[in-house]
Amino acid sequence: MEGTGYMKIAVALIPLLPLLGFIVTLLFGKRWGKHAHIFPVAMVTISAVLSVYGFEWAFRHQEETFVWNAFTWIAAGQFTVPWGFQVDTLTGVMLLVVGVIGMLVHYYSIGYMHGDEGYYRFFAYLNLFMFAMFVLILADSYLLLFLGWEGVGLCSYLLISFWFRKKSASQAGKKAFIVNRVGDFGFTLAMFAIFVATGTLQFTGVFEAAEKGEIAPSLMTWICLLLFTGAIGKSAQFPLHVWLPDAMEGPTPVSALIHAATMVNAGVYMVARSYPLFIQSDTAMTVVMVVGIFTSIFAAYIAITQNDIKKVIAYSTISSLGLMFVALGAGAWVAGIFYLFAHGFFKGLMFLCSGSVIHAMGGEQDMRKMGGLRKKIPITFWTMLIGALSMVGVIPFAGFWAKDEILGATFIDGYYLVWAVGLLIVLLTGIYVFRLIFLTFFGENRSDAEVQAHIHESPPVMTVPLILLSIPALGLGLLVGVPPESGWLHGFLEPVFFDLEHEPFTWIGEGGALMGVSLVLALVGIAIAWWLYMRQTDVPGRIAERVPWAYKASLNKVYMDDIYAVVPVGATLGFAGWLWTFVDAKIIDGAVNGIALLWGWIGDRLRPIQTGRVQNYALYVFGGMIALVVVLAWVWGS
């Protein structure tokens, strides 16, 4: 439906206020000093309130889609794309995630970034990020979505390399952007293909054309796979996942907001948004599922041996995103979004908690130097425990219901192998998440005495957001996801994912049994972690000695970075170097300079002819005439 007045204002202000916050803070923030956060935080708070209003609108108008084409963006030839926005129930869910978590992360950052010399810059970038992220989810066309998509990429770049004098930070920022560009390559081509096939890039038009069957099946597969390439980059799926662990160089609030709760979900969101396209291509769906499950187990395997607290959570994020793609690929669309919804809260929470831990430890991120923090930072401990239980999937935490729906769907649809691997992931998740918990919060503290003396709980401006986030991490599933497969969220998202069939969930029966299996495995994983890291602490080392290759591969992230340094990066640079020093300098410029030298050479040879003696010239003239006559005679003769 065409937008109503209030909604238009809200939809315009939601992205514009953070944009204003960015501009104003960038210009004047330095002068505000330690008060630089006031304006940007205020902007985001208003935006968050308006986002909740947007969600509430979608709640009241579940069967409708708010559409507003503000003005033309690009119109050239037949190509037209407006600055157009839309809100439906899927957007509503995203608004809630982005608005609320975004706001809480802003508050948290006031404490976390306190005293940093780039304080104002940090808030300016965060506000710019909010702008781009809101555009991404409010866009009503692929192209405008792409604007937000690249915008969040820019902010991710800026915030990862926030401490830019650290080489690892500037390296990681650059890597994130370039790897994402590889995905965007596919996204761009997909947009061209969509436009050529349907004559529009606006969702409504594209999906109508798709439903009418105007896109040939083979082309549809191409379009979906190319779109998914973009999603692989943004949502850090194998083989483009390598940027996300490095992105942990950024300040921890950034990891929570961008690299866990919002931006990395953009790929999942985009694929879910393209639901009417993907359901027409079984091939694409299968690829999505396979990439998802592979990435998920792959990342879980790496997470087990990482010692950096943020790296563990980063790999767990990759693993979780993989599960979301499994859901989408298996046709459990709502389950995928449900997991995105829950994951945003519990993973954002875990990151913020890890930030609180790092804050307490004076910047230390190595878990081997932590331990015993439970008593010293109790709020962080308890909230992080909630996040961890949710992440691992223990009843009744939010993550449990979401993950269970995904696994249940793979089983019910007959993807038994995927389901089995999924269970293995549940087990591994239990192990590595609680390895983190035990290493960090239990046992003896292993840091220096000086660090130990300074361990303190974070200020309320940081702990209150933790507490607030732990509420949905705990209760969201009960609220929106029970009973499984027909919880409130299913009804809410039905207008977006029309045509989805699902059988009623049976507590006593298949559904309940599947649920029980995954719950047991999660608990077993926790138990193993307890046994390995609390009781028999020498066992992990012995395992590593017994299978050194498996341990080293995991510790070294399966050597993906090393491989990439050689194959795409090294080869490209080598080829480029050859082009420059050989093709450009030797062949092309060689030819140019060669021609110049040739003329010089000819000139030198010809110089002796000019003797200055008239007799010689007369001889040349005579010889020339003879030659001319001979040539003319030959030409006429033939």
Partner: protein, 530 residues
């Protein structure tokens, strides 16, 4: 004789020759008084800019044909006329030229130490030639401006350039001259063809672009014009003059070179190659698009390897200008794709803003560090946060961030290529990945730290950008955002002229097939020569 009937006075001539009046004034009253000649230069360029802005307001975007037309008899026996006029494409390019004209005057305020008056006079004379090229509606007049513009540029590089300035200036001059001579031959051939077939001797571009030429003439004349313009663009493999010229040229020279001179290649193709020789143009589509795609990737790859900041930006121009030629020629393939051509023109404008700005930034950095070697820099964002912010902005504009100007044009141009050939578009899109790589790598090594010693080189007594420098960059920031957010302002000028071109080319589209058919025609034409 008729002055412009649209507004009652010769607006285009005034815009064109205002800087010349400035030169006269400078020579009369400004000798030895730097402030006087600088202020005069600033005033005349500002006035020219204001007039060209007014011209855009007064321009009627819905009308076909030349506007603000002036037409006076000049050389009677040959029916050569002093004809001026602009369509939407030329109008935008005139605007770009006068904008950059003001900016380089501001940016060069304290740049040259030696023979400063000559430098400003050269800049002003250069602007006369450039604006004239875009305004001329008489082929002969066009050629005069085209050649006239070379001379001040030659001096700007050769006199005020870097250590290898003589080599660079001569290389620039010779390359361009070869193209010019070929073009001159083609002009004569075209004019005489028309005279022989219709009896009328005319140099009027509009009239000449309506004639139907024999395919044989089209083929060779197209090639001659095309080579001249391809050198200017510059297209692969005739691009090697560009890095040398840029590296040696003073900042202002680089800004103008990249911002305006390169655009003449694309402009010439749109004004001459397509409407004069539509059949030949269609024949050459696969080759031109192919070479453009090579240029996009090649330029980007070579940029990646550059150690000199300025050379990096120069090679990136080769890559970006590939989108121009690709969009133009893909746009005339198949049934015609206006979006591709309009995108190509947007790339020209956007590249003018962005690369102009990047060269300004390189200049500002060089004035402080006295080096352009990337390896000697690092952590510059620490002492120069404002400069870092500007450089980042223009770098992201240049790598095609949506919402800034670079994206719109490249996207549309790539879209044109995609409709023509998916595979070529896929290869060209690799250039977009590489653009991120070379620009961000450059930014990291200059502004962020890449030395590992965590220390700013002590010899860099670095001040951040001053007010004058910021003022010279701000207009470019405005246009980069404007064109990224609301490109309609610019696109509206392009719809009609692009339709005119497509209308002229379209009949050729049906009977000439690309690929093997084109090869056969090439063979035929070569045979026809002998």
């Amino acid at each position: 004789m008729s002055w412009s009937d649209q507004i009652g006075f010769p607006l285009l001539s005034v815009i064109t020759f205002l800087p010349l009046a400035g030169v006269v004034l400078i020579l009369l009253v400004g000798r030895g008084k730097p402030v006087v000649y600088k202020v005069i230069s600033l005033i005349v360029t500002l006035a020219a800019f204001a007039l060209s802005a007014w011209m855009l307001f007064a321009f009627k975007t819905k009308l076909p044909g030349m506007q603000f037309a002036e037409n006076i008899s000049w050389i009677k026996p040959l029916n050569i006329r002093y004809g001026m006029g602009v369509d939407g494409i030329a109008a935008l390019l005139v605007f770009l030229t006068t904008l950059l004209g003001v900016i380089v005057i501001i940016a060069s305020w304290n740049y040259v130490k030696d023979r400063e008056l000559g430098f400003f006079v050269s800049l002003l004379l250069l602007q006369v030639g450039m604006v004239g090229v875009f305004c001329a509606t008489d082929l002969f007049l066009f050629y005069v401006f085209w050649e006239a513009m070379l001379i001040p540029m030659y001096f700007i590089i050769g006199v005020w350039g870097g250590p290898r300035r003589i080599y660079a200036a001569i290389k620039f001059f010779l390359f361009t001259l070869i193209g010019s001579l070929l073009m001159l031959l083609a002009i004569i051939a075209v004019v005489y063809y028309v005279k022989d077939s219709s009896g009328a001797l005319t140099f009027d571009i509009q009239a000449l672009s309506k004639v139907v030429y024999s395919y044989h003439l089209q083929f060779w004349a197209f090639l001659a014009f095309f080579v001249a313009f391809a050198i200017k663009v510059p297209m692969f493999p005739v691009h090697t003059w560009l890095p040398d010229a840029h590296v040696e040229a003073p900042t202002a020279g680089s800004v103008i070179l990249a911002g305006v001179l390169l655009k003449m290649g694309g402009y010439g193709m749109l004004r001459f190659c397509l409407p004069f020789f539509p059949d030949a143009a269609v024949t050459f589509v696969p080759w031109v698009v192919g070479l453009s795609v090579v240029a996009i990737v090649y330029g980007a790859l070579v940029s990646l390897m550059q150690k000199d900041l300025k050379k990096l930006v120069a090679y990136s121009s080769v890559s970006h200008m590939g989108f121009v030629t690709a969009g133009i020629f893909a746009g005339i393939a198949l049934v015609g794709n206006a979006a591709g051509i309009e995108g190509a023109i947007l790339v020209m404008l956007s590249h003018g803003f962005l690369t102009g700005a990047l060269f300004l930034m390189v200049g500002f950095i060089y004035e402080r560090t006295h080096t352009r070697l990337i390896a000697d820099m690092g952590s510059l964002a620490k002492p120069m946060p404002i400069a870092a912010g500007f450089l980042l902005f223009f770098a992201f504009g240049s790598l095609g961030l949506p919402g800034l100007s670079g994206f719109v044009g490249e996207f549309l141009s790539l879209f044109g290529v995609f409709e023509y050939s998916r595979w070529m578009a896929a290869v060209a899109a690799l250039g977009v990945i590489l653009a991120a790589a070379y620009l961000l790598w450059m930014f990291q090594r200059t502004m962020f730290n890449d030395r590992g010693d965590d220390e700013v080189k002590p010899s860099f007594a670095l001040k951040d950008l001053g007010l004058r420098e910021i003022v010279s960059l701000l207009p470019l920031v405005v246009f980069v955002i404007w064109m990224g957010v609301y490109p309609q302002t610019f696109l509206e000028f392009l719809h009609v002229p692009v339709q005119v071109i497509l209308h002229r080319v379209t009949p050729s589209l049906n009977d000439t097939s690309a690929g093997i058919g084109a090869l056969a025609q090439l063979v035929d034409s070569v045979r026809g020569l002998f």
